[in-house]
């Protein structure tokens, strides 16, 4: 049977997340990264005709990284505890941050399809729409994007992809 999401258990989940040790999770992620790095470094030759091979330095570095990540995990669990609740902001603030991230992702996917001016205007509009009136947000997004386009593409010859303005010879 599926658990239904109610305000009560939604709050409980939020509390659970807030209680998590952010340092510990970061340490575990870094440990996993170091182990993966170590595993990959084993595929690179340790010795070469010149003596030390291209795998020597990464292998020692990986070993040291694993050691440091373990010390960090211990430190995060004992006396330097960063709980999610205290280290990270509330839901509204995190949503603001996520908005920027999502806008950037949309920009990444759209840039080659619709060009810089439309993708850029959309990116800025997503960031402006909750801070300004809709009409102002649209105007600001378009003006700022086109100003950047003019400065970088026209003045500095940066090859920003453009689909819309290229129709008019820009």
């Amino acid at each position: 049977m599926k658990d239904e999401v109610t305000p009560e258990n939604k709050g409980a989940f939020g509390e659970l997340v807030k209680r998590q040790n952010a340092g510990l999770w970061f340490g575990v992620a870094f440990f996993a990264y170091a182990v993966l790095y170590f595993k990959m470094s084993l595929d690179i030759p340790y010795h070469s005709k010149l003596g030390a091979g291209p795998g020597m330095y990464p292998r020692w570095l990986a070993g040291f990284s694993i050691f440091v990540s373990l010390v960090y995990i211990v430190q995060s669990c004992t006396h330097q505890i960063f709980s999610m609740g205290r280290s990270f902001p509330g839901r509204t603030e995190l949503f603001n941050v996520f908005t920027v991230f999502a806008a950037c992702m949309i920009f990444l996917f759209l840039l080659d399809v619709v060009g810089f001016n439309i993708a850029g205007s959309l990116l800025l509009f997503v960031m402006f729409y909750r801070q300004y009136k809709a009409l102002h947000a649209i105007a600001l997004s378009i003006v700022i994007t086109f100003a950047h386009y003019f400065v970088f593409k026209v003045c500095f010859s940066v090859p920003l992809p453009e689909k819309f303005l290229s129709l008019f010879g820009f």
């Binding site: 952010a22 970061f26 340490g27 870094f30 990264y33 170091a34 790095y37 990959m40 470094s41 030759p45 070469s48 010149l50 003596g51 030390a52 091979g53 291209p54 795998g55 330095y57 990464p58 570095l61 990986a62 040291f64 990284s65 440091v68 990540s69 010390v71 960090y72 430190q75 006396h79 330097q80 960063f82 280290s87 990270f88 902001p89 603030e93 603001n96 941050v97 908005t99 920027v100 991230f101 950037c104 992702m105 990444l108 840039l111 080659d112 850029g120 990116l123 800025l124 960031m127 402006f128 801070q131 600001l140 700022i144 994007t145 970088f152 500095f156 010859s157 940066v158 090859p159 920003l160």
Partner: protein, 500 residues
């Protein structure tokens, strides 16, 4: 005498109209990013590197170093007028600068800060001109073994001095070093950690990493809560009172010496001399109780120290090719992009370039003095640009900056990833500067180590046989032991506090 002649020839390069223009652009952008909270000189330098591709190397570095030292001036204005430091080095200026502004003495605070910055900046450039060439001559004796030990010492300083915990510093260092191994191996050219992706063959670009860690993460932090800008205080006279002239002059002198010598140490940043200068002035003052309530030495000393630091910090870069701060690491990236190898040989092979850049710092400091005294009020108005407008503009600038690295969306994606990593790391207090510094040093260190091992028939014995290398290793052990001891002591202190 050679240094004097070199500096004179440098002025013939720095005073050409186009280099003057680039210097003006650099210091103006530096001043601007210093004024605007949230965007530091590191981000601005990283942002503008791609735009310098088409420029002559000397003009590009003149402009980029202008951003570096210009940022130090700009941060003061907002610290004094609206109690908002534009960059880390100006945080300490808020304590007495804003208090002076509240007492109607904003002009005097800005005046001594600008004059101190100018004196500190100029004297440190003269120091750079005098110490740089002999140090470069000495550095010519450095082989791979000595270079490796020196860089190891630099890394230890980075880890030991940046951030509150050595373990967190080491974690950041490991991340930087592992990232630096992506791409071609520096000796044999073997591909490593590339996942068969062509865009990883040359490694990850330093500029995108820096823009993500410093720029984008700052935007994420700023977007959490968009607070409104504060109201600026009025400016009247720029001169200190007669009775303050003596104490201010001594504070400026002490700040100059302190900032310059701290700049020579790899791993430091401009906030350290500012902080040390403040504590020193407070200790030496006959009225330490005035500190925090508008003491003019509390503004003059730190502001001078952070500008003097900039000149000192250029010495390890120009003579040894070792960056001493994140912004200098970005500058090192710019050197490499323009086909220049910072280090002792640079003084021999490209004297016009080196002296041109050094002379431009004198010119740039003079420009900044003019910008800061009569135009301070105008700059303060810029700081009132609302964050809700500023951050989106900086975001799109960052995206364009990342895109121009190789005209590919891959770099924008990399920047985005490092933006998120930087945001998380800021939240859990892991310093980010070691990542960038070790990323820059990583490849050089590996190359030097492998060459040293090869020269010593597969042994590491060369590291202790060379006197220079041995000295560096001993210093490394001392710094590392000191940092570990401090960490353990702090841990005990923290546990004792918890028990209390």
């Amino acid at each position: 005498m050679d240094s004097f002649m070199g500096l004179l020839s440098g002025f013939s390069v720095a005073l050409t109209w186009h280099n003057l223009l680039y210097c003006l652009i650099g210091v103006t952008v530096g001043q601007l990013v210093g004024v605007l909270p949230g965007i530091g000189p590191t981000t601005a330098t990283a942002l503008l590197i791609p735009l310098t591709y088409g420029m002559p190397p000397v003009s590009a570095i003149i402009m980029l170093s202008g951003i570096y030292y210009g940022g130090m001036y700009g941060g003061t204005i907002t610290s004094v007028l609206i109690n908002t430091p534009g960059e880390a080095a100006s945080v300490i200026t808020c304590l007495d600068g804003y208090e002076m502004a509240k007492q109607g003495r904003a002009g005097a605070a800005l005046g001594v800060a600008a004059m101190g910055s100018f004196v500190g900046g100029i004297i440190s450039v003269i120091g750079l001109a005098l110490i740089g060439p002999p140090l470069a001559d000495f550095a010519l004796k450095f082989g791979p073994t000595e270079m490796f030990s020196l860089m190891l010492f630099g890394l230890t300083m980075v880890v030991g001095l940046m951030g509150a915990s050595i373990v967190r510093g080491m974690l950041a260092m490991c991340l930087g070093l592992t990232l630096a191994t992506v791409g071609m191996d520096p000796i044999s050219g073997t591909l490593r950690f590339t996942f068969n992706q062509p865009f990883l063959i040359n490694g990850i670009d330093l500029v995108t990493i820096a823009m993500g860690l410093f720029g984008l993460s700052e935007i994420f932090l700023g977007m959490e809560n968009l607070a409104s800008a504060a109201k600026a205080q009025q400016i009247t006279s720029f001169l200190p009172e007669k009775k303050e002239v003596k104490t201010t002059s001594w504070a400026i002198l002490r700040g100059t010496v302190l900032g310059f010598f701290i700049g020579l140490i790899p791993g430091t940043n401009s906030a350290i001399p500012a902080l040390l200068s403040y504590s020193m002035e407070k200790k030496l003052s006959k009225h330490p109780e005035k500190f925090g309530h508008g003491a003019i030495e509390g503004v003059a000393g730190p502001e001078t120290a952070n500008n003097s630091y900039c000149g000192g910090a250029m010495i390890p870069l120009l003579t040894l090719g070792i960056p001493s701060s994140p912004t200098i690491a970005i500058l090192l990236g710019a050197f490499i992009m323009h086909g220049l190898t910072p280090g002792p040989i640079l003084f021999v092979q490209n004297p016009d370039f080196v002296w041109g850049v050094i002379a431009s710092m004198v010119v740039g400091n003079a420009m900044l003095l003019f910008m800061n005294l009569p135009l301070a009020g105008w700059w303060a108005k810029i700081a009132e640009v609302p964050a809700k407008l500023l951050y989106p503009i900086v975001l799109i600038l960052s995206i364009i900056g990342a895109y121009t690295v190789s005209n590919d969306l891959w770099d924008v994606g990399v920047m985005l990833v490092f933006g998120v990593v930087g945001y998380v790391m800021k939240k859990i207090d892991i310093p980010m500067a070691p990542i960038v510094l070790t990323y820059v040093l990583g490849a050089m260190m590996e190359k030097a180590l492998l060459q040293s091992v090869k020269m010593n028939n597969g042994s590491l014995i060369g590291l202790v046989e060379s006197p220079i290398s041995l000295t560096m290793i001993v210093l490394t052990v001392i710094v590392l032991s000191g940092s570990i001891y401090a960490e353990i002591k702090n841990k005990k202190g923290a546990i004792a506090l918890e028990n209390d």
